[in-house]
């Protein structure tokens, strides 16, 4: 029901579109806030100081969230210190009722009054509504700085209320309390593109700044990543198990030689067979070296094809005693890992060398079918790289969200 009245402040014409529902309105000429009482208007706040014009024009009709809405009211609100400001649009549909569209730092919320009050926990840190738990994010005073349009409640001068926000992204549960009432509302985070499209704001949308309290995290694939990592790791473990258990380690050569001299002695070993099993060949050299080094230059020769492979392996061991007692350095054993050879019959030509030409005995043992744990651990590490990066990104996002809260789980002040 449209009603045309005269502003008691400036004498200008004031039109109230929904006079049967609106209890307050603002004179478009002098910006005085007026109370709609019976057939006349009374001044609540005389001539507000003009502030920012609404981004979405009052009186505009838009289709949003499945309904047609008319924008009938606009508020600029802030915390009591006026450090943070945000704007609220009052939307109205005669068949659906009132809704709010809230914009803070370029982040938008679609807000509806709840039908009942949530259950607050004993420590007042969580609120439960419709079986969903919301965490306390903010508590403080809120005041209204500026209003335009018409409203279904009576706007008060110096309107200061206590507000609390609880979040469960993408939702935010808010309460505003004063001496007379306690109003709960549920806000749903809305993507800016949806707002831009629905309210025809192309080219005029403010950029979103930072992370909103109830902004949904873009890192929602945690469970899938955990599943993938688990499956891939299990696959890796199974393969490692196959290498360890099914590809049995086998000694292929075990020889011992006593040398009268270690410089340039050439030894030809007996033949030995290498099979086609997987895994590396382990060469274990032992010599009774003392205060000297010992080295072998080995050629492994395929008896059938004549193909030769060579490697060298050395050991050194030094010991003595001084004013601190006995000391030793090095070892009389050394290990060497060499790659798998093609299956076949081989023999070795071993040439020895050492620092001093002294009688010495040494033993050499070759085994095949050995499995590396290093490769397994590196593969696990490579698999975990992306999940670790993902967790860091996700945590950074959540820490950024909670950085504006006094109740951050990442920043607890112990009493």
């Amino acid at each position: 029901m449209v009603k045309a009245l005269v502003c008691p402040s400036c004498g200008g014409s004031v039109t109230i579109k929904y006079a049967d529902k609106s209890l307050s309105c603002v004179c478009p000429s002098c910006l005085s806030v007026l109370s709609n009482e019976n057939e006349s208007l009374k001044i609540i706040i005389k001539a507000q100081k003009k502030m920012a014009m609404p981004l979405i024009p009052l009186g505009g009709r838009y289709h949003f969230q499945g309904h047609d809405w008319e924008v009938i009211g606009y508020l600029i609100r802030s915390d009591h210190l006026e450090q943070y400001q945000w704007s609220e649009y009052l939307l109205f549909n005669p068949f659906v009722g009132y809704r709010f569209l809230v914009c803070m730092d370029g982040h938008w919320s679609y807000v509806i009054k709840t039908k009942s009050a949530p259950k607050i926990s004993d420590n007042a840190k969580t609120a439960t509504y419709l079986n969903r738990k919301y965490e306390l994010f903010h508590k403080g005073k809120v005041k209204t700085l500026y209003v335009l349009g018409e409203f279904y409640w009576r706007v008060k001068e110096n309107d200061l209320v206590t507000a609390e926000d609880y979040i469960h992204p993408p939702e935010m549960l808010s309460v505003e309390k004063d001496n007379d009432e306690e109003i709960w509302s549920l806000g749903q985070y809305v993507d800016r593109i949806e707002i831009e499209t629905a309210f025809k704001l192309a080219g005029r949308m403010p950029w979103d700044v930072g992370v909103a309290p109830h902004q949904p995290s873009p890192h929602k694939e945690k469970n899938t990543i955990v599943l993938y990592v688990t499956c891939l790791s299990l696959l890796l473990i199974c393969i490692q198990f196959v290498f360890l258990v099914l590809i049995l380690k086998r000694d292929v050569l075990n020889v011992r030689y006593d040398l009268s001299t270690t410089k340039g002695t050439v030894i030809k070993t007996d033949t030995f067979t290498v099979t086609d099993r997987g895994g590396y060949i382990h060469s274990d050299l032992n010599a009774n070296v003392s205060n000297d080094w010992f080295e072998i230059a080995a050629e492994i020769v395929n008896q059938e094809t004549g193909e030769e492979y060579e490697y060298d392996q050395g050991i050194e061991f030094y010991s003595g005693s001084d004013y601190e007692g006995y000391w030793s350095e090095g070892s009389r054993d050394s290990d060497r890992r060499v790659a798998k050879l093609p299956a076949g019959t081989y023999y070795m030509n071993i040439t020895t060398n050492s620092g001093q030409s002294a009688p010495m005995s040494f033993s050499l043992k070759l085994s095949e079918g050995n499995t590396s744990w290093g490769n397994f651990l590196i593969a696990i590490f490579l698999l975990l790289l992306y999940p670790i990066y993902y967790v860091i990104r996700s945590s950074t996002f959540e820490m950024s969200r909670w950085s504006q809260s006094d109740y951050s789980p990442y920043w607890r002040e112990d009493a």
Binding site: I239, G278, G279, A339, K340, L341, S372, G374, F376
Partner: protein
């Protein structure tokens, strides 16, 4: 992104299986030494 990770993961498992069978290390594989018959510590004469 997740499909990319899955492909990457299977590639890691595949390379791991290959180099473990061949008895070489990731280092050998990355440095290209795995293409020699006996890997890092062996050379053709």
């Amino acid at each position: 992104m997740l499909k990319g990770y899955l492909v990457y993961g299977f590639l890691v498992v595949l390379i791991y299986s290959y180099i473990s069978y061949m008895g070489i290390s990731y280092y050998d594989f990355v440095s290209g030494k795995n293409f020699q018959p006996a890997g890092k510590t062996f050379q053709h004469k």
